[in-house]
């Protein structure tokens, strides 16, 4: 029936009738107003959408919103925390990262070997470590930490240096001060490890610790990378592998004392050569939070929650961000029970940001749906009324001879919809061409499609009602007896 030659001919005749000289100006003005208002409204929606979408992407991509550092007061406290909270946190989709912690504003983190020395790690753990590396701009430092693998068959060479995370803009005195403090901290930690040993290994650890700490070098963070806004309090990042070396010496019962003394050598250019195995996580900490038994407290242990923020569709009408509120409540509860967050503000900022953004997205979409649907029905209704008023005799005359009831309805339903489609697809193409960066196309297409479908469905009965005189139970085809 539709799109046959007869239908197309009828369509052309209908358009000719609408654009005939006597009604042309009025009809063109009506159509122009419709297109202008529709285009203006769609543009306004798209601009706001672009803004909120950009913010949404930023929030979703922010790595700091996937890791929270909570305070542990002591070994026992940490043990209790693990015992009481590990399972509930797992139920909430969060895991405690075991290979990193913040102590005295310095992040101690295990540097994974690029040579595949580590084994038996869970995917979550690796993901969490990678996230931390990215968050603290460590990817390059980690890649360069291992200078050489398997020197002489079983030894590796690593850099004897730490990363000054937020010290780029500080004066030299402060930097030097922080350097000295770190050295003292490392010395203390080494001494703690040393104190566990009861034989001559103590001297070996002491000697190695002195060599390493004295030769410890600072590398400034890249000037291109600013510290993460939410974790800018972190001052220095220390490879935890240094602690592994001392710990391995303390535990190694298989090697002669003399050999242990030579097992770690420090090169003047700022690198350490040691047994490859000494750079791995010590066996006693396998599957455990590293160095939780040492008195490196108070420390902040990281909790990794990858799915805290997720894009969320509301009845396929608009996409906003879903925040795991249960987790945030749990985190708040931890905070107020003494496991203070390293940055409590971050959790509040996060919730505020998500709330404001979701409000903006919702308001924009509801406004768009209301205006677009009402305008999309009102103007086509006016066009149908216009057609009925100016063409009622012609249509009645036509229907006296031809069964074109459905076609006429379809034409006057299709005409405004095709205008809408043209305007919207044009604006959409412009948007994708000039403004759209990447991804999120569906978040835009679905609302536009939903609004279009709602208009199409809502306008259908209204259009039918407009021509009720021909298509109702009371027929009134005037032409037979009234003429023009």
């Amino acid at each position: 029936m539709f799109f046959s030659r007869d239908f197309l001919k009828l369509q052309v005749v209908c358009l000719k009738m609408l654009f005939r000289k006597s009604t042309r100006k009025r009809f063109v003005f009506l159509v122009f107003t419709f297109l202008f208002m529709l285009g203006f409204n769609t543009c306004s929606y798209l601009m706001k959408f672009h803004k909120t979408e950009t913010l949404k992407r930023e929030v979703l991509a922010e790595k700091a919103f996937k890791v929270f550092f909570t305070r542990m007061r002591s070994t026992n406290d940490f043990e209790r925390f693990l015992f009481n909270h590990r399972r509930p946190l797992q139920d909430l989709g969060a895991n405690i990262v075991q290979k990193a912690f913040i102590y005295q504003n310095n992040l101690y983190i295990h540097f994974l070997s690029p040579f595949g020395l580590e084994t038996g790690q869970s995917i979550d753990e690796i993901e969490a470590m990678q996230l931390l590396y990215h968050m603290f701009n460590l990817s390059r430092a980690v890649a360069e930490f291992y200078v050489a693998d398997h020197v002489d068959g079983y030894r590796s060479r690593v850099k004897n240096q730490y990363v000054d995370y937020n010290g780029n803009r500080l004066d030299e005195d402060t930097v030097r001060n922080r350097h000295d403090t770190l050295k003292a901290d490392l010395g203390d930690i080494a001494d703690m490890i040393r104190s566990l040993s009861r034989d001559k290994r103590k001297d070996v650890i002491h000697s190695v610790r002195n060599t390493m700490v004295e030769n410890l070098k600072r590398i400034a963070g890249s000037k291109d990378d600013d510290p993460n806004l939410y974790l800018s309090r972190v001052e220095i990042i220390v490879p935890m592998n240094f602690l592994h070396i001392w710990s391995h010496i303390q535990q190694d019962n298989t090697t002669d004392i003399m050999d242990l003394l030579y097992s770690v050598s420090s090169n003047p250019e700022g690198s350490i050569e040691t047994d490859s195995a000494f750079l791995k996580v010590p066996e006693i900490y396998a599957g455990e939070a590293l160095y939780k038994d040492m008195d490196i407290y108070p420390r902040y242990a990281p909790i990794y929650v990858p799915d805290l923020l997720k894009p969320h569709w509301n009845w396929l009408l608009f996409q906003n961000i879903r925040l795991k509120k249960d987790f945030m409540d749990y985190l708040n509860q931890l905070h107020f029970n003494g496991h203070y967050l390293f940055s409590y503000e971050k959790s509040q900022i996060l919730q505020d940001k998500v709330k404001n953004l979701n409000d903006d997205i919702q308001t924009n979409h509801i406004h768009f749906y209301l205006t677009d649907v009402s305008m999309g029905i009102a103007f086509p209704f006016m066009i149908s009324l216009f057609a009925f008023i100016h063409l009622k005799t012609e249509i009645a005359f036509l229907l006296m001879y031809k069964n074109r009831v459905r076609e006429i309805l379809f034409i006057f339903w299709l005409l405004p919809l095709s205008l809408m489609f043209l305007v919207k697809s044009g604006i959409l193409t412009g948007y994708f061409f000039y403004l759209h960066s990447s991804g999120g196309g569906l978040a835009l297409l679905l609302p536009l499609l939903a609004s279009f479908v709602a208009v199409a469905a809502g306008f259908y009965p209204i259009n039918k009602w407009c021509f009720n005189q021909f298509f109702g139970d009371t027929l009134n085809l005037y032409a037979l007896h009234k003429g023009r």
Binding site: D6, K9, E394, M400, V405, D473, L480, H481
Partner: protein, 273 residues
Amino acid sequence: MQSCFRVKFPLILKWDDAFTITFTSSQAPLLEFKSGFYFLCGDNGSGKTTFLNMLALTAGNIGKKAAADNGGIAYNTEAYNRPGFNHIQAARIREQQFCIFPQKAFFLPVSTRDNYTILNGSDPDKEAGFSDREYPDLLSGGQQQKILMDIILDEKKPVWFLDEPLSNLDAERRHYFWEILEKAYQQKLQIIFFIDHGMGNEIKSDPQFCYIETLCAVTENRQKNRQPEIGRRCIEIYANDSPDDFFKRKIRETENATAAGLNEKDLSRESKT
């Protein structure tokens, strides 16, 4: 298939609950129109066209809005007031069965060829005969009626409603009209409803036509805050079961009139010279 209209009186047509026309019959409450030529005779405003409109499904209530207990119209097996009958079925019947010649010539505001394509379009050869540059609005009333006749009258349809089709036509075109009417009647045309103010006396005195019924049309105009206006008019219906002779006679008459007209033209031309 034999076409037949069955009309059960009273027929009531309401416009906005204020204006009502009620048709009643003087004799039997059921009237049948079978094959033949039906002539409707009555004064202006007596409701002839309205009655044809109701028969031709171009005005009035259909389907659920047509009250079954007040009478109704049925064409063959299709009762207009049966439950489920709707505008689509009405349009289908009009397209397939009825040929409606209106009282006044009217066109779509496009070329005559487009008018033919949209309103009829059954014969491609005939379609090619119409001009795509000629716009009916620019033609005279008589020319319009001629064009409309060519567009609308369809020999394949069994029922023709002819509402004063000859009012503006010259003798030559009247001759043409009676010829195509006769031709159509020999093919598929079965029932003809005909209204003409000039032929009333001729039909009444014609022995081939018999009087079959007088319809009484009561009009009620009840506007708010006004006295109701009630009027009563009559429509007489005459029928001719086998109108072939009538058609032939009309063809002869119009042929003679055409010839006389031509002679008059010749004579006037000669006298001028």
